[in-house]
């Protein structure tokens, strides 16, 4: 067993666990959106950031992918952690105003309003990629991917070509943290010519 501290409390973890897994084992709350135990973690949403400290040195890491190690000192609710959380949630509120899940999560962390204007009032997808991961890792098909990069990144069919390998198992819809996949689903496997324009 590996022994370390979360919020000054001693915790024990099995080798290979992440900080998040350990925290959940002990009932210590860390918010997540792009994490799901059924698939590999990608560290994309950054809501699970925690602060590591060692003397005067400190650093933020994503707890969903940070491997446990002997003697770590982890803090889950410091000023720096709250600052990242606050801004990610404010930006998510503006990016996905139509998602009740995100509104709820933000409210839980006292983010009620966003300083940013929303560009698409119907948007619910924030491109966490859980749909693509579950399709690849659990279903074994890779019928969904993230397409393009930077601010243009979005969920779509691999190589932007709607695919016929989808078996309509519904895993992506089940795993989607905001319900966005329900809307995207048909366009990923939809008519080839129009699917992408529907997405964008």
């Amino acid at each position: 067993m590996i022994t370390f501290k979360i919020n000054d409390e001693e915790v024990q973890a099995r080798p290979g666990w992440t900080v998040l897994e350990t925290a959940r084992e002990y009932g210590i709350e860390i918010p997540t959106l792009c994490f799901h135990p059924a698939v590999s973690s990608s560290g994309a949403c950054r809501l699970c950031m925690v602060e590591l400290r060692e003397g005067s040195w400190s650093k933020l890491v994503a707890s969903c992918i940070y491997p446990v190690a002997e003697g770590l000192q982890v803090y889950t609710d410091t000023e720096r952690v709250r600052n990242v959380r606050r801004w990610v949630l404010e930006m998510l509120l503006a990016a996905c105003p139509a998602s009740p899940e995100i509104v709820q999560l933000a409210a839980k962390y006292n983010v009620i309003r966003s300083r940013f204007a929303s560009k698409d009032p119907d948007q619910t997808c924030f491109v966490c990629g859980l749909c693509a991961r579950v399709c690849e890792e659990v279903v074994g098909l890779s019928a969904i991917a993230t397409v393009d990069r930077g601010i243009h990144k979005r969920v779509g069919a691999p190589f932007a070509r709607p695919t016929d390998i989808c078996v309509a198992c519904g895993s992506c819809i089940t795993i989607c943290p905001t319900g966005a996949m329900q809307k995207i689903f048909d366009s990923v496997r939809g008519e080839p010519a129009t699917a992408l324009t529907q997405l964008a």
């Binding site: 720096r80 990242v84 801004w87």
Partner: protein, 633 residues
């Protein structure tokens, strides 16, 4: 390209030992007449763009036509970039080292007649000292070169990069021969450790420490181990690595082979961005020649050590310069960074121990092995040893590539080597480290340029781009530029980077329109810190640096935008008006003719007027006016 040595035919030589290499070197040197005139024509990307290939062609024709005696026919050599890009195309006549600048094909006949036949200089093509107006005849007397210390670049501008015999004559592959015949791999790692060499890609991680960690990882995980060159240089304004790959590809290759020997790697990769076709071509030629000479591939120099490498071309994503994104790209996947809590030396390419170093880092390695770590550690300053190559661009007289020892003051690079700002004013700030770095203001011009001092000033060394700005550059606009660049270049995976950079840029967009409050500046700072702390890879976490440093050093200029609705630098279009000074306007009408909005009126020989309502603020009138009558207020 023209090859000097006719005796060497690639393929007929396979070197079997260090002695063989020395014999070959002596033979090449003995075939050369040091007194023979040689016309060196820069064929770096900058000079080529200015037509240096046509200059080379003109020389060939002119020499043939001049019918110079067969014994003294001058050689023509095309080389990599000489660094003085603002003066290109450059032609140097050796052995005397006469330095001609801005040579065009129509100057060639005169050079051949005056210099090669009559032995006189063509004065109008010489460099003139801008301070004293004295003519300077040779390269080494020009202040731009005189104040530099060219170590990594020592061969560039002297050798033909497409001819391995030139490299061998200049001492290339001596370090490899030395290592293979007299050093154990472990000793190579130790030498690099002792040299104090730090990675030239930006972060300045000690190279020896990286190699040592890789050796430790190999002990645990076994081989294979991979060595990779990061040639995905993408910072706006940076061209150090391109120049090294184009001008001295064998140096990079030799450094890579030495690293492979030190770590016991059998396969290496050179990841070079596809936008560098000349660098790729020269590396391909160099690799083919090195293979033919037994310096790369099976059983190198008959030592029993085998290593080969291949070039992978980056397809245009800036983020692929980030180590983990580079690996996923080589693996054939989209270039997204991986969460990197396990270091690349333990789990890099294909999940194997991997050493990834920058082009310039690798180019330093043969020098350290050949001349010893003690010599190298004596260059520069104690925690940043050696030299660093910088690309000096922006509002500076001598735009080009410079190499200086670490630790020289910023002012020495910008004002002495760079010749200062064109209009003689002091510079306003220097942006180091590209979009990941920060702005160093004029009042910190004494800052020593080394890894730690730049970081302490809020910037970073980065790969070595230095963008000089003057009082016509607006810090808000600079911040917007870099953020726009990174918004497009972000991989889009993590939220602080994908959403945060856009939101930061939007706040700056508002400032540039004269909108915004002090609360916005506070929010911007706080959001910038969240991006810095929260982003998944170095692209995102360093992206706020330009904004944070300008907020730190130029807060007043931000305030001028939001409080006074003014852009002091006269850049932000919504905050400036163009007008015509009636005293200076001669009524030549040329601005009125050029104006795309047709908003300039006025009669011939009478002062013109700009209609501010219709004006697009494109600045064409200002560029057109020969009398400086167009002013921004």
């Amino acid at each position: 390209m023209h090859s000097q040595s006719t005796a060497l035919k690639v393929g007929s030589w396979r070197l079997q030992s260090a002695q063989d290499l020395n014999k070959l070197r002596e033979q090449i040197l003995s075939e050369r007449d040091p007194a023979r005139p040689e016309i060196v024509i820069c064929h770096g990307t900058g000079c080529l763009a200015n037509g240096s290939d046509k200059v080379a062609k003109a020389f060939k024709t002119a020499i043939d036509a001049a019918g110079i005696d067969a014994k003294v026919v001058p050689g023509i050599k095309t080389t990599g970039c000489h660094g003085f890009c603002s003066r290109g195309p450059l032609v140097i006549i050796r052995p005397k080292g006469l330095f001609y600048q801005r040579v065009s094909p129509k100057d060639v006949e005169e050079i051949v007649k005056r210099t090669l036949v009559e032995g006189q200089a063509v004065e109008r093509l010489l460099y003139k000292d801008p301070k004293t107006d004295d003519l300077i005849f040779t390269e080494d007397q020009i202040p731009f070169y005189k104040l530099q210390q060219r170590v990594v670049l020592h061969n560039i501008g002297k050798i033909d990069p497409t001819d391995i015999s030139d490299t061998i004559a200049a001492g290339g592959y001596q370090a490899l021969a030395k290592a293979l015949s007299t050093m154990r791999p472990e000793q190579v790692v130790k030498e690099i450790e002792k040299s104090g060499l730090r990675g030239r890609g930006g972060a300045g991680f000690p190279t020896g420490k990286k190699w040592r960690s890789a050796l430790n990882a190999i002990k645990k995980k076994g081989r294979p181990v991979y060595v990779v060159v990061n040639g995905d240089e993408g910072d706006p304004g940076a061209f150090m690595d391109r120049t090294i790959m184009e001008g001295d590809p064998h140096a990079v290759l030799e450094g890579l082979i030495l690293a492979a020997y030190a770590l016991g790697a059998q396969q290496g990769y050179l990841y070079v961005r596809a936008e560098y076709p000349l660098a790729i071509r020269h590396l391909e030629i160099a690799m083919a020649q090195a293979r033919a000479f037994g310096l790369l591939g099976e059983n190198i120099l008959n030592s029993g050590f085998s290593f080969d490498a291949r070039i992978n071309r980056g397809a245009g994503a800036f983020v692929c310069g980030e180590s983990t994104a580079l690996f996923t790209s080589i693996e054939g996947k989209p270039g997204n960074p991986r969460p990197k809590y396990v270091r690349s030396v333990e789990e890099g390419l294909w999940g194997r121990p991997t050493v990834l170093n920058n082009v310039e880092t690798f180019a330093n390695v043969p020098l350290i092995i050949e001349r010893g770590s003690g010599w190298y550690a004596g260059l520069g300053v104690s925690h940043s040893t050696g030299t660093k190559v910088f690309s000096l661009v922006g509002k500076v007289n001598n735009v080009g590539l410079v190499e200086v020892p670490m630790g020289v003051p910023m002012a020495a690079i910008v004002e002495e080597i760079g010749g200062g700002v064109p209009n003689g004013k002091p510079f306003k700030a220097v942006q180091t480290g590209g979009p990941s770095g920060g702005c160093i203001p004029y009042r910190l011009k004494g800052t020593p340029v080394d890894f730690d001092s730049l970081t302490a000033a809020g910037s970073m060394m980065g790969s070595g781009a230095m963008i000089v700005m003057d009082d016509t550059d607006c810090v808000v606009d600079v911040g917007r530029y870099f953020l726009r660049f990174l918004e497009e270049e972000s991989c889009g995976k993590c939220l602080p980077c994908r959403l945060g950079l856009t939101r930061m840029r939007e706040i700056l967009d508002n400032f540039s329109k004269g909108q915004g409050t002090e609360q916005d500046i506070e929010d911007l700072t706080s959001l910038a810190q969240a991006v810095q702390d929260g982003a998944l890879c170095a692209l995102g976490s360093s992206a706020p640096n330009p904004v944070l440093t300008t907020l730190r050093y130029f807060k007043e200029e931000y305030m001028a935008h939001i409080r006074d609705h003014k852009c002091p630098a006269g850049v932000c279009k919504d905050l400036i008006t163009y007008s015509i000074d009636p005293e200076l306007c001669t009524g030549c009408m040329s601005c009125a003719r050029q104006c795309p909005a047709q908003c300039i009126t006025g009669k011939k020989k009478a002062a013109h007027i700009i209609d501010a309502e219709k004006c697009l603020r494109c600045g064409i009138c200002m560029d057109t006016c020969k009398f400086n009558a167009v002013v921004i207020s």
